[in-house]
Every structure is written in C-alpha cells, then in structure tokens.
C-alpha cells in the first residue's frame, strides 16, 4: 500500500481519535469515579477528580471537534452517511456531552449546598458514564456491517444498527478503559489514603477491562467475522499483542505501586487497542460499503488539511506542553489537596 493523501488524512483522524481517547477519555473516567465515590474519603476523591480535570478538560474536548472536522472535511461522504445511520446515538451522545460539560462547570462554580447543585453533581457522573458507552457503541456499529450504503442512500435500521451485542460490548469496553485510565492518572495526582483508593479502583477497572476483552472475542467472531479475521492478520495482530503486553505490564505496575510506569503503559495499552482496531478496519470507514478512498474529498482539500497540520502542530505542541507542565508536572499542590481529605480549593 502506497501512502496516498487519504491515508495520511486518515492517519491524522486516527491521531485525533487517539488523543481524544487518552486525554478526554480520562476526563470521562474521572466522572465515572465521581459517580462511584464511596467511603469516608468520598469528598476527597471528588475534589481530586475535579482538580485534575479543571484546567485541562476543555482542551482535551477539542480533540473530538478536531476529529469531526477532519471527518467532514476529508471524508464528507462518510460523515454524511454516519450522520444518517447513527442519527439516534449521535443525538444521545450530544446530550451526554452537553450535560457532562455543563454539569462540570455548574457544579464547580456554585456552592454545593444549594438544591440544583446536587442534581448537577449527579448529572455530571451519569453523563460521564453514558457518553463513553455511546462512543464505543458507535465504533462498534461501523465495524459490524449493519450500515449499508448504495450510492448516496443509506440503508439502515435506525434502532438495531447500533444496538447489537457487539456494540454494547464495545461501549462497555470504552467505559472500562476510560475509568481505568482515569484511576491510573489519579494515583499520580494524589497521595496517602486517597492514592490507595484510586489504586484499588485501578485494579477493579483493570479487571473489568480484561473480562470484557475476553467476552468480546467470541462476539467479534460471531458478529463481525471480517473484523475478527483482520484483527488476527499480520497488520493488526502485532499491535494487539503489544496492547495486551502493555495491559499486563500496567496492571503489574499498579500492583507493585510503580504508578509512573503504570501511567505510561496504560496509555500505550489504549493506543495499541485503538490502532489494532483501526488497522483491522482499514480500508473501510463504514464496513462493508464505504472505503476511505471512496469517501475521500478531492485532493485539493486533503492537501489543505495536511499542509496546515504542521503549522497547527507548531502552535499546539508548545501550548499543550505549557498547559500540562503547569498543572500536571511535578505538582506538589495537587498531592497536597488530595492528601487532606477535607481540603478544598
């Protein structure tokens, strides 16, 4: 396979999807742990989550918008078809995204005692659970072959196409992975007993990830045989194997309290799983009727996207570095706030 413009553009899209998963994914995971905050340090857990998310979640969210823009600019035919076929889950996804973001700021900026604030606090957790599930379901739906396209007509059952067992499993996997990522990150941003809380959560969600992955294998063979076959082909299998190795490594690192290693390996695990899926899905955007090539925009547009990307990167990379080094680098204060279970901003 030679490197064509649409391959490069698809690579850019995959990069955006990956960044969204490892960065914003953890913000959703944070919401999950907010929802399940339990025990004597429940408030401390919530506060640590809010502090970790506060400065970065909006920047992380932009990756989704960027992905969407690459999709409708670079692969307009696919974007249109997806928007028709996934009309319902996309709308639900939007509700989740809107509620999650709004609830986060409403909660952060009001005082917690007032009535509506409690409702928003719940909304934050619930929306953080629903949204990743829907994201996973949409990815599942485009691999399973339930969306058919002939010419510009999309043939689809608006309800069943994304409600297959495979989609549910993909949704659950996304949720578990995001929760896992968040818990791993949080072990590094807290200390003392709070850190132990998040370590425990890492182990729980890590176990769930493994369980769902095992469950997913027969489902794939049954519902998406082509994808299953490709996952085992030379182009995807090595990546997946790496993913499994990283997964085990990161669980080991958590068990032995090597949290910095756990973070790196957890990120690598998610990247490998996503890429494995992407390589297996290739050359399709929507299996089995729409390939990258058939849905791509004219070269002039792809060229524009690719030519401006380095300029954008030149602006972005130093800015992101600044953001993360100010708030996530050696960050004694986050640890402080985390340690004092009663501390508040």
């Amino acid at each position: 396979m030679s490197l064509s413009l649409e391959m490069l553009t698809a690579g850019l899209a995959l990069l955006a999807l990956t960044a969204y998963a490892v960065l914003a994914g953890a913000d959703f995971g944070g919401g999950v742990w907010d929802f399940f905050a339990r025990g004597p340090r429940a408030n401390g857990q919530r506060r640590a989550i809010a502090e970790a998310m506060g400065p970065v979640w909006e920047a992380n969210h932009v990756w989704l918008i960027f992905l969407l823009v690459i999709l409708f600019t670079g692969f307009p035919v696919a974007f249109s078809a997806l928007s028709v076929a996934l009309f319902i889950p996309f709308h639900l996804l939007l509700v989740g995204i809107i509620l999650r973001g709004a609830a986060f700021v409403f909660r952060a900026h009001g005082s917690e005692e007032a009535g509506p604030q409690r409702v928003w606090a719940r909304a934050f957790g619930s929306a953080s659970i629903i949204t990743p599930v829907l994201l996973g379901m949409c990815l599942g739906a485009i691999s399973a072959g339930e969306i058919r396209i002939s010419g510009s007509v999309v043939q689809v059952n608006y309800f069943t196409a994304w409600l297959t067992p495979l989609s549910w499993a993909c949704g659950a996997l996304a949720l578990a992975l995001f929760a896992y990522l968040a818990a791993v990150y949080l072990t590094l941003e807290t200390s003392g007993e709070l850190r132990e809380d998040f370590r425990q959560r890492t182990l729980i969600s890590g176990g769930v990830v493994v369980a769902i992955s095992v469950l997913l294998l027969p489902l794939l063979v049954w519902q998406a045989p082509r994808l299953a076959e490709n996952l085992l082909s030379v182009r995807a299998l090595p990546v997946l194997v790496l993913g499994v190795i990283f997964a085990l490594l990161s669980l080991w690192a958590v068990l032995t309290r090597r949290f910095a290693i756990a973070r790196v390996t957890a990120v690598a695990e998610v990247i490998m799983l996503l890429w494995g899926w992407a390589f297996a899905q290739w050359p399709y955007v929507i299996y089995p009727d729409l390939t990258l090539e058939a849905s791509a925009a004219p070269d002039a547009t792809l060229g524009f996207l690719l030519a401006t990307a380095p300029i954008g990167a030149l602006l972005l990379i130093p800015s992101l570095w600044l953001l993360f080094s100010v708030f996530k680098g050696r960050n004694p204060e986050a640890g402080e706030a985390g340690k004092m279970a009663g501390g508040r901003r």
């Binding site: 009309f87 709308h91 996804l93 809107i98 709004a102 509506p116 608006y158 925009a297 992101l320 100010v326």
Partner: protein
C-alpha cells in the same frame, strides 16, 4: 416537509443559543485583559476584582459555548447530510483552522482561569492574550463558512456534483471580509453592553462604588467604540447584499416591485398578500441611495423571482428593523452616558436604565442580524446552488430531537441565569470564596488554591 421544518427549527435554536456564548467568548476575554492590565499598571484593587469576576464568568460561559458548539458541528451532518457531502471539502478548511483556534483558546483559558496563583502576574496576563485573539479568530473563521453559503465560490457544479474544488478560494470567498468585520464588531458590542447592563443595574440599586463605576466604564469604552463603527460596517454589509443577494435585500426592505428611486421603508409590517407595508415610514429614494449611493438607481424587487422562492418576508424585514433600530438606540444611549459623565461627572437614573436596556438590545440586534442573514437566504442552503429542502436528512423523528434540544437548552439557560445572577451580586470573587469557606465549616481545614 415535516422533516424540513423541524430540522430548520432545530438548527435555528442551536445556532441562536450558541451565538450568545460565542459572542461572550469573543468579548469577555478582551474585557478581562483590559481590567487585569489596568491592575498591573495601577495596582488598584478594583481592577483585579473585576478581572477575576469576569474570568469566573468566562469560565462558565466558555464551557457552555464549547458544548453547544460541539452540538452544532454534529448537527451540520445530522440535519443536513447532502449539504455536508457537497460543502464539507469547501467549508471544512475554515473549520479546520478554527479547530486550531479552539485549541489555543481552551489551552490558554485553562492556564488563565486556574493559574492565578501558579503564574507570575505578567505571565498570567500574557496567557489571556491568546485567549482574546483566538476567540476573535474562531468567530472570523466560522464566518468564512457562513459567507460561503451566501456567496459560494471555489468550485463548479457539473450534474449536481461539485468539481474543480479549490478550498483556498472557498475559504477566501469575496463576502468574508465585510461580514467578518460586521460580526466581530457585533460580538464586542453585544458583550460590552451585556456587561455594562450588569454594572448599570448595580449602580441603580445604589451600589455607587468604585467597583461598579469602573466596571461600567471599561465596558462602555469597548461598547461605544464598536457601536460607532457598526453602522459603517453595516452600510458596507448592506451594499454587499445588494450586489450578491438582491432577493434578500428586497426582503429586508420589503421591496415588492423592481423600481428606480426605491424608497427606504422604516418599520412597518409587510403584508405579502397585498404587496404593501402598513405603518412603514417611507423616505423617498432612500433605498436606492443607501444601496448604490445613487438616488435614482434601479433596485431589484421580489417580483424578479417566483413567489415560491421568496424568503419569509415579514420576518426578514422586521428582524432587519430590530437590528438597525437597536444599533442606533445603543449609540444614542452611549453618547448620553459619556455626555453626562463629562458634564456632570455622574449619570442620572435614566441614563443607567437606558444602559440596562442596551444590554438587551445588543443581544437582540445580534440575533436579529442572524435571522436576516439566514432566513433571508432561503429557500437556498447554498445560495443559488442547493435548496434547503434538498439538503435535509432522511432520518425520521426530528421533532423529537428538536423538542429534546429545546428542553435541554431551557434547563441550561435557567441554571446559567441563576448562577450568573449569584455571581453578579456585586461582590468581588475573593469575598465570595471566603463566604463559601466560612459556610462549609469543618471543610475549611486544608485550603489550597490552585
């Protein structure tokens, strides 16, 4: 047909909602920078208090702007898939560049909002600069996409397919500059007068302190400058519409017949059936003069196109009157404010009430202007290229999604107003935080401020 109406309403509600936050996202960072800059120079506490208050407001509003904008990006495809199939490669580049602006805005806003204690004062202020610039850039770039819909360039249509695609030509479409200027001024105006209204209200309530007076003054400087420039850019805009979209101009002015020396009709409610405009004040040859600077020029009327292809004339006409009327009223009220300030070193209650009203008028003008632009373009989604009716999604059930979105946005708006009212109680942020700390008693133990 059913689908079409529902989709148009869902689009209109989503855009109208987003627009308010977009405008604030463009204007507030600038005000915040000015206030913090004044603090850095004078070390007067009021300026820091104002900057922190506005930063807090920006924090909440930006998030709502971001999520409602995300909804829009999806809705372009969810509601108008055939449109995006055609337009994606042409307007996508503007959105891609806008994406970088969003990144910069979100990144530096994070640094600004959460970095008060972690960054040195100057560094903190500098972090606000990219926020203000990229906020304005976001608006300017998205305007390129919209102005392309009004004046599409950069492709040729062959058998319903766009070929010969030139994304740079589409991005740089000839309507962009003038419309972007008009929009940017409108966003500054709307924000400045919303802020001015809050402080004018506080002053009316008897809080005649430095904090309120300074807040009002900063907002009024920005607001007045933008308001004075707006009719000039509006005139450019109107002449652009005359050249590129004559049917829209005819609808704005309720010009039913093509005639030389067309009059300017101010106010009135068009009666489309009888081709008249009851209650309008007519200025002879006014329209011809404004559109072409020649009082005898011929203006194309609505009769040049079949009636089935007219936009909703009464809505376009009335919206146009609301926009221009609000703009002129705001100028009048601003001049009154500065005059009173200069002559009496104080402002009467009437002047303050007028400024509170200006806050509403600024937003009204912004929304009305968009109704003129978007409804006036109908029945085309891409002017003279694709009809809105041919662009709507085949997916069923848009009335449900429309109803859902209205409900969601109402809930958001109500909560937001409640929160912002609490925020705008006239106390600087610092005191508020102290009060919250005191209230939450035992939790006050470990105070660490990020």
């Amino acid at each position: 047909m059913e689908n079409l109406i529902a989709a148009r309403m869902q689009m209109a509600i989503s855009l109208g909602f987003h627009m308010v936050f977009a405008a604030l996202g463009i204007g507030l960072p600038l005000l915040m920078l000015v206030a913090e800059g004044l603090w850095l120079r004078t070390k007067k506490q009021v300026y820091l208090d104002l900057a922190r208050k506005w930063a807090k407001g920006t924090g909440i509003l930006f998030a709502i702007g971001a999520v409602s904008g995300t909804a829009l990006s999806f809705e372009l495809g969810l509601l108008w898939p055939p449109f995006m199939r055609l337009a994606g490669p042409l307007i996508g580049p503007a959105f891609a560049l806008e994406g970088y602006a969003f990144f910069i805005e979100a990144i530096f806003l994070g640094l600004y909002l959460y970095g008060w204690k972690r960054l040195k004062p100057i560094a903190h202020w500098l972090c606000g600069v990219p926020v203000a610039i990229s906020g304005a850039m976001s608006g300017i770039l998205v305007m390129s996409a919209n102005s392309w819909m009004q004046n599409p360039t950069g492709f040729t249509m062959v058998n319903g397919q766009a070929t010969n695609i030139d994304p740079v030509k589409a991005l740089m479409n000839p309507s962009w500059g003038i419309l972007a200027l008009h929009l940017t001024l409108a966003c500054y105006m709307a924000t400045a007068f919303m802020v001015a209204a809050v402080y004018a209200w506080g002053l009316l309530k008897g809080r005649r302190d430095d904090y309120h007076k300074s807040g009002l003054a900063i907002a009024m400087v920005l607001g007045t400058l933008a308001a004075l420039a707006q009719p000039i850019s509006g005139d450019l805009t109107a002449r652009l519409v005359y050249e590129t979209q004559p049917t829209k101009l005819a609808a704005m002015e309720s010009q039913f017949t093509t005639e030389a020396g067309a009059p300017l009709r101010i106010g009135g409610i068009p009666d489309v059936a009888n081709r008249t405009v009851p209650f309008a004040i007519e200025i002879p040859s006014g329209l011809s003069f404004l559109a072409t600077h020649d009082p005898n020029a011929e203006i194309q009327g609505l009769d040049a196109v079949p009636e089935a292809d007219w936009p909703l004339v009464p809505l376009v006409h009335v919206s146009f009157q609301v926009m221009v009327g609000s703009g002129l009223a705001i100028i009048l009220f601003s001049l009154a404010y500065w005059f009173l300030r200069w002559r009496k070193r104080d402002f009467g209650n009437w002047s303050l009430r007028a400024l509170v009203l200006s806050g509403v008028l600024g937003v009204a003008a912004l929304e009305a202007g968009w109704i003129v632009t978007e409804v006036g373009r109908q029945p085309w989604i891409i002017y003279n290229v694709m009809r809105t009716a041919d662009a709507v999604t085949p997916a069923p059930g848009i009335w449900y999604t429309f109803t859902g979105f209205v409900g969601l946005y109402v809930v958001l708006a109500v909560t937001l107003i409640w929160l912002l009212l609490r925020l705008a109680t006239g106390r600087p942020v610092e005191n508020e935080d102290d009060e919250r700390l005191a209230k939450s008693g035992k939790e006050a133990g470990g105070v660490t401020i990020a």
